[in-house]
C-alpha cells in the first residue's frame, strides 16, 4: 500500500516512476525546456497536496492527474468535458478510403521504418487532450474509466479524443509518407455490404 504523507516516502515513490512521468510530460508539452518546468512544478504540486492522496488508491493515476493539469496550463488549453461536434473532423474510415493508405496497411513495419520519426511531429499536431488520451491509453495502459478520472471528463469524451486523435495522426503520417514517396497510390474499393449490391475487387493502378 502506497503512503506518501512522509516527505521521504513521497520522494521515493515519485522517483520509482520519474522516467515515465517525465516522458508523459515531454510528449504532452513537447517543448523540452517547458517540460522540465512542468515536471518540477507537477512534483511540487503533488508534494503540497500529498495529504489528499488516499493510501491504497492508484498513486500513478493520482500523479498523472496533477501532471496533466500542469500540461494543460503550460499549453494554454482547457480540459473540456465535451468536445464540440466537428462535422469536418476526419475519421479513420476517411483516412482508410485514401488510396495510398492501403500501402500503409499492407506493410506497416516497412512504412514506419522509413518515416517512423515523423510520428513525433505528427503527434505534436494533436490537441493536448488527444495527446494525453493516446499516451495514457497506448503507453501507460490506463483504462478508459481511469483516463476519464485523470482528465475529469466523461468516458465518451475520452473515446472521442482517442478516435479523432488516431485519425488525425494517421492522416498526418499518410501525407508525409506520400510526400516522400514511401507510399504509392493504390486505389482500393471497399467490398460494400450486400444491401448496396456493390462488390468490386482490388483495382490495380
Amino acid at each position: 500500500m502506497v503512503t506518501i504523507s512522509d516527505p521521504e516516502d513521497f520522494v521515493k515513490e515519485v522517483e520509482k516512476h520519474k522516467d515515465e512521468f517525465y516522458r508523459y510530460v515531454l510528449r504532452t508539452v513537447w517543448d523540452s525546456g517547458a517540460a522540465e518546468d512542468v515536471f518540477a512544478s507537477g512534483v511540487l504540486a503533488a508534494f503540497e497536496n500529498r495529504m489528499k492522496f488516499k493510501s491504497g488508491t492508484n498513486f500513478r493515476a493520482w500523479m498523472y492527474r496533477i501532471l496533466t493539469n500542469k500540461c494543460f496550463v503550460a499549453n494554454r488549453e482547457v480540459i473540456r468535458a465535451f468536445e464540440p461536434l466537428d462535422e469536418d473532423a476526419m475519421t479513420i474510415e476517411d483516412v482508410q478510403s485514401v488510396g495510398e493508405y492501403a500501402s500503409v496497411l499492407d506493410d506497416p513495419e516497412a512504412v514506419f521504418e522509413q518515416c517512423g520519426d515523423e510520428v513525433y511531429r505528427a503527434f505534436k499536431s494533436l490537441s493536448t487532450a488527444q495527446r494525453s488520451c493516446l499516451l495514457l491509453r497506448g503507453i501507460e495502459r490506463f483504462s478508459y474509466q481511469e483516463i476519464a478520472e485523470i482528465l475529469g471528463i466523461p468516458v465518451g469524451t475520452v473515446m472521442t479524443h482517442l478516435s479523432r486523435g488516431r485519425a488525425k495522426l494517421r492522416k498526418e503520417l499518410l501525407d508525409y509518407a506520400r510526400d516522400i514517396g514511401v507510399v504509392k497510390s493504390k486505389p482500393r474499393l471497399w467490398v460494400k455490404d450486400d444491401e448496396k449490391n456493390l462488390e468490386r475487387g482490388e483495382a490495380s493502378q
Binding site: 520519474k18 517525465y22 515536471f39 506497416p108 513495419e109 497506448g138 483504462s143 478508459y144 473515446m159
Partner: protein, 245 residues
C-alpha cells in the same frame, strides 16, 4: 452522436480491448471481411505508433534534482522556518557536525565533511566588486580545469547576479574549484570537480539519497560536474559554464 461517430468510437474501443466480451462479439459480427482485415492491420499500425511514442525516456538527473530541491525547499519553509533563520540554523548544524566529526571516526562516506563542502559558510561575505570573467577563466586554465565561464554579464539584470570570486579547495586529497557568485545579495557558489572524482561521486550519492538540501542543481559540463550550492535560487548561473574540450 452520429452513427459514424459511434462506429468510430466502437472501433477505437475494440482496438483498446475496452469492450466487454459480448460487445466485442457483436462488433466483430458487424464487420465485413474487408473491415475485419483492415482492423487487424490497424492494430499493427497502432503498435508501430506506440513503439515510437513509448520509447524509453530517462528523466535527466538535473531535472530530477531540481524537482527534489523544490520539494525540500517547500518542506523546510512549510515548517515555518524563515529563510534568514535557516541560514543561522544551517551554520549551527554545520558547526555541531564538525564537533561530532572530531570525536567520532567516520567511515568512507563522511557526512560532516561533505556538509561543509556543500555549504556557503566559507563564503559569507558578499561584496559589490565584480571579478572579471576573463580572470576567473585564466585562473581555471592555470589550474588545468578545462571549464570556462561565458557571457556571465548577460545574466538578466533583475537577478542582480555577479561573479564574485574563485578559489581552489581540497576534499580528501582531491582539488576542486569553487566559483562564487552574488545573487540578489545572497551568496551562492558553483563547485567544479571532475566527473569521476571521489567528491563528484559523494555528491551524486548524497543527492540520490536526498541528503543535499543546499544543492540546487547538478549539471554535467564536459568532463566535470558543476554543483550549484546556496539558499537563493540561482539556477541560471550554471548555464554559463562551458567545457573547453
Amino acid at each position: 452522436m452520429s452513427n459514424a461517430g459511434d462506429k468510430e468510437r466502437l472501433w477505437s474501443a475494440y482496438l483498446d480491448g475496452e469492450l466487454t466480451a459480448a460487445e466485442a462479439a457483436r462488433f466483430d459480427q458487424s464487420l465485413t471481411p474487408d473491415e475485419r482485415a483492415r482492423l487487424m492491420a490497424e492494430m499493427k499500425v497502432e503498435a508501430q505508433i506506440n513503439e515510437r511514442l513509448g520509447a524509453e525516456v530517462t528523466c535527466p538527473d538535473a531535472v530530477w534534482q531540481n524537482a527534489v530541491a523544490a520539494v525540500r525547499q517547500n518542506e523546510i519553509t512549510s515548517d515555518g522556518i524563515r529563510p534568514a533563520t535557516r541560514w543561522i540554523a544551517g551554520l549551527s548544524a554545520v558547526a555541531a557536525a564538525l564537533i561530532v566529526a572530531t570525536v567520532f571516526i567516520v567511515p568512507r562516506y563522511s557526512p560532516p565533511a561533505l556538509a561543509s563542502v556543500l555549504s556557503v559558510d566559507q563564503y559569507s561575505c558578499v561584496n559589490d566588486i565584480r571579478v572579471p570573467e576573463a580572470e576567473v577563466n585564466e585562473y581555471l586554465r592555470q589550474r588545468s580545469f578545462f571549464v570556462r565561464i561565458e557571457n556571465e554579464s548577460s545574466i538578466p539584470t533583475h537577478h542582480k547576479s555577479f561573479l564574485a570570486g574563485v578559489a581552489t579547495r581540497e576534499h580528501k586529497g582531491e582539488e576542486f574549484v569553487e566559483v562564487y557568485f552574488g545573487c540578489c545579495r545572497r551568496p551562492v557558489k558553483v563547485i567544479v570537480t571532475p566527473y569521476d572524482s571521489k567528491l563528484a561521486g559523494l555528491i551524486r550519492d548524497a543527492a540520490k539519497r536526498s541528503k543535499t538540501p543546499s544543492v540546487q542543481k547538478i549539471d554535467r559540463v564536459g568532463g566535470y560536474i558543476a554543483v550549484l550550492v546556496g539558499e537563493h535560487p540561482a539556477g541560471h548561473v550554471v548555464g554559463h559554464f562551458y567545457s573547453n574540450r
